[in-house]
Subunit: 361 residues, 3 copies
């Protein structure tokens, strides 16, 4: 794979022809994450590092002295939260993560206020934004735009790292990270993620979180996936081929209740009808794929119910108070793993780990 | 009143059937304000505590060392400013109050950017927001929504306090607090609020600030209210009944100029024609209820003119430069009393008072 | 010029009749910049002070200790970024500048969220905003509004400085400052701005940056200007008269390629067709006024290409990587010069210079 080079040593033409897997290592710099753009760039060891760092951050933040220490890490840096496509939850999660590590934020949360209206190219807009900051956290409706920006910025005299907070239909890597972190935490006293059974339920065809998480799970040993959805919304062939290639075992199912007792984690998802071309989702009966209160007794005692949120009817609100419903904790995990990611990008991970070790003694 | 219990010890069904007066004590926690939702939860002694705390904050903030001390109080906390109904002035007042006490803010100021558009329930939206923060300051067009959120959050494993920054037509408690604080400051060398005469003028039927302030004034001794408005916009019977029940004396009047010389405070309000069903306000001649420059000579030397703002024509701008026009100071008082409220919610009031006493010596 | 007085010693009627040149000194207070509203208030010595201060700030900010020192300067102050007319780039530049000097920001970036919708006057809106802060940074579509606000605030008991971040068609003084700072930096080893030739290219009729910069250049010795534009978009007579009065030499040209080799700085601008009444710009062929890659070889080795951005087609993106293309550095210079301006307004310039000198030793 000697096609792989740092982004500032490859032309856009050559880079854009690479597959996602081939691109992934280009986003590193001196062995460290520089840009965080695709789920594929996170190897198991990187995932484990990030998860353990997130746990350090979470625990350090419990005291005032610890909070102060964390905020000292990046007080002298600024981040830009550029959300050309609005998303309150992802925006807030990143804003909170930045606050935890002392990083000052500025935001543009509305494409219409940007100078694109004056005929500027999107690249120029982001390059201007990048001039004021040390990190760009970006959500954009156009798939691949974050990669183009990362390449462009890496080829200026002032390269600024880019974190992808969701681009188009395909990538939302920090969502996948928080899912992994939630699984890790859920099974930390149960042998970790290795060997676990994860059931994905709902709209598997169009949910980018499912695609990314399934891919990341291939890095663990002996994980089994169930894909539970109505035929029209089943998981794509391309994903299954990736799982086959990685040797991960999986089953397709249309019978949710049969799967529940076998799963260690149930990953519920919403019908993504915003991608409908012609309201086709309405004709599909998805009620058999809802997690109802009565399902709680079928679920393993050590099982967990996850959801990337927002939810509609796919999980009964009566389920919320069950300790195995971890989707609200998942939200907060997002904040911690994003804080960990930001610290890593700026090379502060070592200092944070050392501080944590000292405090533990 | 043994129906009254902490919010986490009462079902939503039982809670929602309580009157506002019965609900009020549920918003406390261990004798302290936890949620701040309705004017009715502020007893005289709480009001006096908040006012004196606001004064401590205001004076401490005059020096750099004092500012630093205040900012140390809540540096390790985050607040969410969720304004589903935009309001720049209330938003900014809270944002400034947060800054004074070192509380980092994140905001969503536009309902359309929230994920409600993806079919999420309003409760889920706020619960998600709450995951990232330690305090929610919320403005919402729907009356009672703040209470529902407070109940819901109190019944999770991570309860987060809620401050109501205006909900629907009825409650805007921090506006009432700043009005009380302005009256206190105005009469601090004149015997306080007890025994004063307050004239409410303008649209008394639909102004929620008038309703809340009138109610809070019942807690003081010997206060007299005048309600001066055109017949179509006079104060509601329900308020008068409350005042009767509390034994507060009041008079209805249609003659503004007769009332001016008798008032210690004149509380002007704007015609709230945004609540018009059919432009009915336009047919009402309100010009006799405007405070004009020539009215200044009728006003007591110790009298004050207040206004919750924004104003239209109800107060001549030529009045602004008179020292008895305190509506601009009222704005700034809002910032101090909100800072005091936030400090109280987090239990920092004691530390701030102690610091103030030390400095005074 | 004894008409000139501080803003609080002159009536609005008398003030508003003054020319811009006569108004300029009214924005000072005790010999220091208080309001920053028009380019005409910046004398050469003030420009030099600001540029050298910006350089101090830029260099101090390179270390963590230095960043901390800068952030200590204004930690106890708040600024309001009021952008009634959205502009991401100017907004972000100011927000970053505030962060550099530790000034906490609040923003309203959308006229529709302000209470102007409730019938409030624009003056009342800004006066309310000013109550919460120590500085107002304001962009407004209405020419002269910033001046009215500055006069109004100077005549209250709590005067708050106003920085004009763009008002109407005429003034955008901090853009002119950053242009001067970019020229200073570009020629710091080449004798400074004195004696240089600056070519303005593009829409000279409607670009306020050109008007302001041309005026500021009259304060330097022996500067020559070229105005290169299609006849319909040439520089206004009023500017030329100002230059004549100041004794600055200039030439009008329609031949871009002839001018390139003679220029030390080429200031490119965009066609401002948002001011078109009837799409008249479309009929104008401006392609001869574009800077193309092949022009690079005509440009002096020491020459620089500037642009206030956003750009459209006036500069080929292939030009970006040439070291003489300084428009991206210009963006960042804006942040530094704005930080310097803010420090000056608050009288922190001395402390910053002293710190810099100490560190240099």
């Amino acid at each position: 794979m000697n096609k792989t080079r740092a982004l500032d040593q490859i032309t856009w033409e050559n880079f854009s022809e690479l597959s996602t897997m081939e691109k992934a290592p280009c986003f590193l710099k001196e062995g460290r994450i520089f840009h965080a753009l695709v789920a594929q760039q996170f190897s198991r060891s990187l995932l484990e590092d990030l998860c353990s760092l997130a746990t350090c951050v979470r625990r350090i933040a419990k005291t005032r002295t610890g909070s102060r220490f964390l905020q000292e890490q990046l007080f002298d840096r600024r981040a830009m939260l550029y959300f050309a496509q609005p998303s309150s939850r992802t925006y807030l999660s990143f804003a909170a993560a930045c606050q935890v590590v002392g990083l000052d934020c500025m935001d543009v949360r509305d494409s219409s206020t940007s100078s694109e209206v004056k005929g500027e190219s999107s690249e120029d807009t982001v390059r201007t934004f990048s001039s004021y900051v040390d990190l760009i956290i970006m959500r954009h409706p156009e798939g691949g735009f974050a990669e183009r920006v990362a390449w462009m910025l890496s080829n200026t005299s002032r390269p600024v790292p880019v974190i992808n907070a969701g681009s188009g239909k395909d990538q939302h890597p920090t969502q996948a990270l928080l899912d992994i972190y939630t699984l890790e935490r859920s099974f930390e006293n149960g042998g970790g993620i290795d060997g676990k059974t994860v059931a994905f339920v709902g709209d598997l065809k169009r949910g980018r979180t499912v695609r990314s998480l399934a891919w990341l799970l291939t890095q663990y040993e002996g994980v089994k996936a169930w894909f539970v959805a109505p035929p029209e919304l089943q998981i794509g062939e391309d994903i299954l081929q990736q799982l086959d290639a990685a040797g991960m075992s999986y089953e397709i199912s249309f019978d949710f209740e049969k799967v529940i007792p076998q799963a260690d984690a149930i990953y519920m998802t919403r019908i993504q009808d915003e991608w409908d071309l012609n309201n086709e989702s309405r004709a599909i009966d998805t009620s058999m794929y809802h997690f109802k209160k009565e399902h709680l007794k079928m679920l393993k005692e050590t099982g967990v119910i996850m959801h990337p949120l927002p939810r509609r009817a796919e999980i009964d609100t009566a389920v919320d108070s069950d300790p195995r419903a971890v989707y609200w904790r998942q939200v907060r995990n997002g904040m911690w793993i994003r804080a960990a990611l930001i610290l890593s990008v700026f090379g502060c991970d070592r200092a944070v780990r050392d501080y944590y070790k000292e405090q533990e003694q």
